[in-house]
Amino acid sequence: MMREPLGKDEIIEFMDECLEVEFSFVKNEIPAEQITKLPRQQQDFILNLIKRVADTNIELAYQLACGSAHALNEMGKHMVEEWAMTAADHYDRKGLFPAMSIIRDLDNFIHTAHERAHGSLLEDEIGVLLPFLHGLSGRKLKLEASDTTFTDTETIFVPPVIAVFSDSKENFRLYKATVAHHWAQIQFGTFRTDLSQLPEDQLIKFCSLETVRLDACIRNELPGLHRQMQSLQNKFEQQETSGQYEEIINTLSSSNASVKTTLDLLDKVTYEKCPGSYIYQGTIDPVAVAATMSKRIEREKAFFRVALSDLAKDLTRAEENDESPEKSPPRFGIRKKDDAEHTLSNGMVQLEIDGGLVAPPQHIKELMSSIIVDFGDIPPEYLVAAGPGEYDLTVFDSSLNPNDVWKGTYHEEGAQIYNEWNYKRQHYHKDWCVLREIEVQPVYDSFVEDTLEKYSKLLKSLRNTFEYMRGEDKLLKKQPHGDDIDIDALVEAYADVKSGMEMTNQLFTKMHKEERNVAVIFMVDMSGSTKGWINRAERESLILLAEVLEVLQDRYAIYGFSGMTRKRCELFKIKAFDDEYDAEVKARISNIEPQDYTRMGVFIRHVIRHFSEVEASTKLLITLSDGKPDDYDTYRGEYGVEDTRQALFEARRDGIHSFCITIDEEARDYLPHMYGAANYTVIDNVASLPIKVSEIYRRLTT
């Protein structure tokens, strides 16, 4: 049944409320006038969208309302929603002004949308391009989006969208060609000479000539790719290869051409005679290259020589045990296999010491291939193992200590970034929460002993109960196949035969081994509200749990969570899956201290990643909590509950069962909504938490 369109007054009333007109003083008459003319279905759609965006920013929603009728005229509903959400996203990341410009510049958005529709997007293709690039061998390069196309020898920068051709497949091929070309620059030694002295016009010429040389290299190594690159180039613009260019091309394509050949040609070839630019060639940024290379060369030299010294130590230890204390550092040699000139595969250069070949471990092999890419060889000074104390490798360690982040100005470097669900917007805030994993410092006190003492009787009975749960052998009778004959079944079968019945074939016994295959993560609430009793009860519960889990031999990890605002979510590692339950883990449990707030969703999303690293038929996430998700900023009430619920959905999608144990007496109001009716337990008495938790775990996993 068609519904009546809303009248102007009704629309104004709705919008006045959404846009809080008493405070914002926006004039709703103008947009309402336009919306009135739309059919009811479209009106509902627009008003809903305005409401969703109003939650982010009222001014933005007002602008959206003004442009919405026109936008619906220009594009489909799906695109209009995309338009509004892109604006909201821009508001999150860059602020009001860029967001407003998205809404106002509808034409540009439509243009970009068209481009994206038939173009190829890096974010869509990176899953293919990156393994493609890594498969091409050499150094493990990275791919990043950038407005200019170039490489700094560690990362290849390509445009976020390529829309040169009308067919998205062709555009993808252009990505591939661009990536391969820049890989070739690194692999075939474009940067083995200093380019920073070249003036601008020479650099342009160099870029073009070098492309001809690299194309020849690619033709030798990857003929299929070369054909594709040529056909792409021809579709875009036919390159002249005859006449005056022929000689240049022949010189550059010869098998012994190197970057020097290109440089030598620079002065001989005039600008006009240059073969022109190729669609995939991008630019060369000598400054970026020099900066990255000098850092890497220093780092790799140090790492390589230290690695060699370790290798030499291992080798001598294997041969003889007496170590003569003062010897000059051992010197390695390299042996080249034939045909090592132009080859893709690694391992063409072998390491030797004292005339004998050695098989280096994987990390040395990778270093070697990276060094060869830079120099075309391994320089002799690299082959001298580092003397003791010659290098301090920690200066090259760029990973930051998470504990130091807040000491200086804050930054997001090295942290993990997660989305967050905004239920009002019905959309994720992209890259919203900044999470760091921090280790709890072990404190060796008497807490663990005290707890074990206090619950010694309970623990004994718990251990007994859990012993039963352990994968026990079960003798199955009356099986068609098995290890032994089931005498009872056989006697019965004979009796059956005697009485004229058919003889059954189920005459064997079989040992059936039940193997538990459970991985469980315990997330412990470390918010400020757990201070005192609750915290103690949590720690006691963890000790008892860990004791019984050791009996069960289930794999388990324990993390504590807390934080303040979305920029500082901290997950405290107490025990990872691979850690032993040893004195250190116990000491960490005893140092679990109340911190700040509970922003649940982000932690669940992070834990999902941890789960993806283990293989188990049952994955279980158990949360110990004392209240609703709650944070210093907007993360409270419905918002927090809905985000947590969404994160739990994501967990379920990955096959993770979630369960919550809480001591919040009001939890019955919100937990069923978050976890589902059967997936939580409220414990009324904090003191009974340690006793209950193990019991609940037993119930959950049998």
Binding site: G135, S137, P223, G224, L344
Partner: protein, 270 residues
């Protein structure tokens, strides 16, 4: 056409299986066999462990009994069990017992896949006692000098749950296998399939590309066996890119992006 039916212990290998040694493995195996030492073969899947065993069985002129281990393999699957036929219970030897009885080579493939309690039955056979106790019939089988026990495992993909116990592994002479070097691998492909040297070389390059991806999206790179498969398809005039896709890429991963990437790599090469 008639299918040959053989008892396992009669399975002699008549024609020389093609095997290209990488190192000293043939000599070491020969020596271990003479000295009655059991052998453990380590190496990634499809690098030639089983082919090596066939080759050695041919060389030593002994029947080869292969058991592919799985997680439901019990001790009685190896040793033997009672069966009931026409109102009688009769004892039937398992492959291990029959190998001991007939002086064959028993090859337990992927031993870690078997349950831990199963692997211990080979212990008395794998040390200097060389006996197989058959508790159910109350007998001890003493191995003749011709009998040989070999097991294999892939250190790459076993999970922590399925590690080979020290007490088991320390009874064996261990031979490590890996994919052969580029030239040797090319030669193997040519010998096995008869394709031309250029295609074989490109195929080996493709294998190296996939092996470089191990750890960044792939659990395993392409094995020599898969290369041979692809080459066989190419020999039947299948397009090289299609052959790489069906015989190699699809065989090592299900991940869509990875498949596309590998397709792009193979189409770059051919």
């Amino acid at each position: 056409m008639k299918t040959k039916v053989l008892k396992p212990e009669e399975h002699y290998i008549k024609d020389e299986p093609y095997y290209q040694p990488i190192g000293e493995e043939i000599r070491v195996f020969d020596a271990a066999y003479k000295q009655q030492l059991p052998v453990l073969l380590k190496g990634p899947t499809g690098c030639g462990k089983t082919r090596f065993m066939e080759h050695m069985a041919w060389r030593l002129k002994r029947p080869l009994i292969t058991v592919s281990c799985h997680d439901d393999l019990t001790a009685s699957d190896l040793v033997g069990r009672f069966l009931i036929t026409s109102g009688e219970t009769i004892w039937v030897d398992g492959p291990l017992a029959s190998a001991v009885r007939h002086g064959a080579i028993c090859y337990l493939d992927e031993i870690v896949e078997a349950r831990k309690d199963t692997t211990v039955v080979i212990h008395p056979l794998a040390d200097d006692r060389r006996i197989l106790p058959m508790e159910k019939v109350g007998e001890l089988l003493e191995a003749t000098p011709e009998f040989c026990l070999a097991i294999s495992y892939n250190p790459g993909y076993q999970s922590v749950m399925k590690d080979l116990k020290q007490s088991t592994r320390q009874r064996f002479v261990a031979l490590e296998f890996d994919y052969p070097g580029a030239e040797l691998e090319t030669e193997i492909i040519i010998k096995e399939t008869g394709i031309d040297a250029d295609t074989a070389r490109q195929l080996v390059k493709f294998a190296h590309m996939t092996r470089d991806l191990k750890g960044s999206g792939l659990d395993e790179g392409a094995s020599t066996r898969l290369l041979v498969h692809a080459a066989k398809l190419m020999h039947e005039d299948i397009d090289p890119v299609v052959a790489c896709q069906t015989a190699i890429a699809q065989a090592i991963t299900d991940d869509h992006d990875m498949l596309v990437a590998m397709n792009e790599l193979s189409s770059s090469l051919f």
